[in-house]
């Protein structure tokens, strides 16, 4: 049980080489579940190795329970880690694997036996204790790897993409199980993944990383609803957010985004009012689930008629693709209302949910205004989605 704080952490593999980690700042409270997410090569695994002490940082400080551990060796940091490859000791039985860390720490044998029994029961691996790792399935190996971490009762757990070697079904199962486990044990956890669904479902806090820089640090809800820039917006969400590059136009003092489907045009009045925006190239971001079918009676939201180019039924939803401003735009619709290819449909957008990005820098534009508008419209949108 511990707090974790990273203060301006830097890491480089040598002078002249690009920084692997740049000014990493984040802190989590006791018992929180932190997700480090990003594409491969973004530095998330390096950051985790630095927290574990397997690699040294070249600047800043890593604080566990307000104590600077940056100079300590891994064994003194009281951290346990689950590796992507599980890293089970192949010549030892499951029991010996779990015991190893405890024996090294000179724990009494009776206490070790007790601890192994507790962990084995918790993870339901009692019947596997005398087997070798090679005789276990992937899912069982994953449990043993977790058992080894749990047995030490460390201050912090580190998980390095622990589910990525499992098949899709097992991955979903283990994901739920890990969440249950964390709710029960309430141990501070850092979890590295490139899977944005794991990031959204498991984390109390999410740090989205790219090129060694934290792009955004916040709750999953903040990251999803209020991304700091184009990268975060595109990385989180599946299917990904639609991006339409355009020029805004000012009409009656309000900024409008004009969408053109080929057969109709529609003007989206935006919550953003910043002066001078209409002279810049901007990118409009709309999540597929925030595009709705227009109801029969008018409700005041802007509507646009468009032709369906492709449909992809996924089961619970049908993804419908239309062409807007020469960009393929994905809409997530309920399967029973989804039209056929070639048909036209009336789409609606909630202007308050539409995000605006700078086309050059990728930074989010007009954050404050959009936020306040979003809060007041939240219920309204939920209603429409339900239809």
């Amino acid at each position: 049980m511990a707090t974790l704080e990273l203060r301006n952490v830097n890491k480089t593999y040598g002078a002249g080489l690009p920084d692997t980690l740049k000014n990493i700042e984040l802190s989590i409270k006791d018992g929180e579940f932190l997700i480090l997410v990003g594409p491969s090569g973004c530095g998330k695994s390096t950051l985790m190795n630095c927290i574990a002490g397997l690699e040294n940082i070249t600047g800043g400080a890593i604080m566990i329970d307000d104590q600077d551990v940056s100079g300590m060796s891994p064994k003194d940091r009281d951290i346990a880690m689950v590796f992507q490859s599980y890293a089970l000791y192949p010549t030892m039985s499951v029991r010996e694997n779990i015991e190893f860390g405890l024996k090294i720490r000179k724990m009494a044998q009776s206490a070790i036996d007790e601890e192994v029994a507790r962990v084995a029961k918790l993870l339901q691996i009692e019947h596997l204790l005398n087997r070798k790792p090679g005789q276990l399935s992937g899912g069982q190996q994953q449990r043993v790897a977790m058992g080894r971490a749990l047995a030490r009762r460390p201050k912090i757990y580190l998980f390095d993409e622990p589910l990525s070697n499992l098949d899709a079904k097992l991955r979903v199962e283990m994901r739920t199980e890990m969440k249950l486990m964390h709710q029960r044990l309430k141990t501070t956890t850092v979890y590295v993944t490139h899977d944005q669904i794991e990031a959204m479902t498991l984390g109390d806090k999410v740090a989205v990383m790219k090129d060694g820089i934290i792009q955004q640090f916040g709750t999953p809800k903040q990251i999803y609803n209020d991304p700091a820039n184009l990268f975060v917006a595109s990385f989180i969400g599946s299917p990904p957010m639609n991006f339409i590059g355009l020029r805004l136009k000012r009409q009656d003092g309000r900024l409008m985004a004009v969408l053109d489907s080929g057969q109709a045009r529609c003007e989206l009045p935006l919550g953003v009012q910043d002066a001078g925006l209409e002279e810049r190239d901007v990118i409009v971001g709309i999540r597929p689930e925030q595009i709705m079918l227009a109801p029969h009676e008018a409700n005041g939201l802007p509507t646009l008629r468009a032709e369906v180019k492709v449909t992809e039924p996924t089961g619970p939803d049908t993804l419908v693709f239309v062409q807007l401003n020469d960009v393929k735009v994905c809409c997530r619709l309920a399967p029973d209302v989804a039209p056929q290819v070639g048909e036209s449909l009336n789409l609606q957008f909630d202007p308050a949910k539409v995000l605006l990005f700078d086309a050059q820098t990728g930074e989010r534009l007009g954050v404050g205004a959009a936020l306040s508008a979003q809060d007041s419209r939240g219920d309204n949108v939920a209603q429409f989605k339900g239809r």
């Binding site: 574990a52 397997l54 064994k75 951290i79 880690m81 590796f83 000791y89 190893f100 090294i104």
Partner: protein, 281 residues
């Protein structure tokens, strides 16, 4: 298998292949057969009969005489080979462990230079080695010869272990470090237990090399401390008296038996271990 497939299996090409293979086997076996037959013949039998003829009288006198001649040198070879093999394998394992799992600045270069040791001919190290042994006060001692064998063998044993260990995932060492284990604990408890195949390869390789070595033996030892290869040479090359080919052959067989035994006992590891780590790294 159906009868049809069975018939087609014994085709003309099959027969040709087997014929060639059997011929090759016979060709390779002829020297061994000649040696075995000759070692059980009497000297008169050897001078009158031909090489491949069956002994007129089967006698073990050649073997008894041979053993009496090489007896002491056989044990010399054991005393040289066993410690040299064990020590060079142990140090090679430790070297390989460091070079694959605890890389340091310049470790790749170090390994590259070490590899040169595998390509150095014996002859080139004779003078430096004898100079060093002289300085150390180990000239013409069994310890000195063992030392030379260990140093010369390290390049090979390090190469074997390093290439085996690079295929072991780093995560194992990381996990053990987080579990609190140190450098030697990780080596002893995690890495060594996984190393059986490559240890066997190393033992066989080093045993064969050192047991069969003649050059180091003849240069760095003298008199009663010489290995069996040198003794065998002295016996066969003697220019006085009548040539006792039966004794020569029996002595040669005795000199070759231990390596043969090692291959029979541990040979299955050899092919397996040599190819381990060959794909990766």
């Amino acid at each position: 298998m159906t009868s049809l497939a069975g018939k087609s299996a014994i085709s003309l090409s099959r027969i040709a292949i087997y014929a060639v293979l059997i011929f090759a086997v016979l060709l390779y076996l002829v020297p061994l057969v000649v040696m075995l037959l000759t070692s059980f013949k009497t000297p008169e039998d050897i001078s009158t009969g031909n090489l491949l003829s069956w002994p007129a009288v089967v006698t073990g006198i050649g073997w008894v005489k041979a053993w009496a001649t090489v007896d002491g040198y056989f044990w010399n070879s054991i005393k040289i080979t066993v410690p040299a093999v064990l020590v060079s394998t142990a140090i090679g394992a430790l070297n390989g462990y460091v070079l694959s799992m605890w890389r340091f600045r310049g470790s790749q270069l170090f390994f590259g230079l070490l590899l040169f040791g595998c390509f150095l001919p014996f002859q080139t190290v004779l003078l430096p080695a004898s100079f060093t042994l002289g300085k150390m006060g180990l000239a013409s001692t069994t310890t000195g010869l063992v030392f030379v064998h260990i140093v010369y063998g390290l390049a090979f044993t390090t190469l074997f272990f390093r290439n085996y260990y690079v295929s072991i995932p780093d995560a194992l060492v990381k996990a053990a470090r987080l579990d609190g284990a140190g450098f030697f604990t990780i080596f002893r408890m995690i890495i060594l237990p996984m190393s059986t195949p490559i240890i066997m390869v190393c033992l066989i390789w080093q045993f064969t090399q050192i047991w069969n070595d003649f050059l180091f033996g003849v240069v760095f030892s003298s008199g009663d401390s010489q290995p069996i290869t040198v003794a065998l040479n002295n016996l066969v090359n003697t220019s006085t008296g009548v040539k006792e080919y039966n004794v020569d052959m029996a002595a040669a067989m005795i000199a070759g038996l231990p390596t043969l035994l090692v291959y029979v006992v541990a040979g299955k590891y050899f092919v397996r271990g040599l190819t381990a780590g060959a794909v990766k790294g």
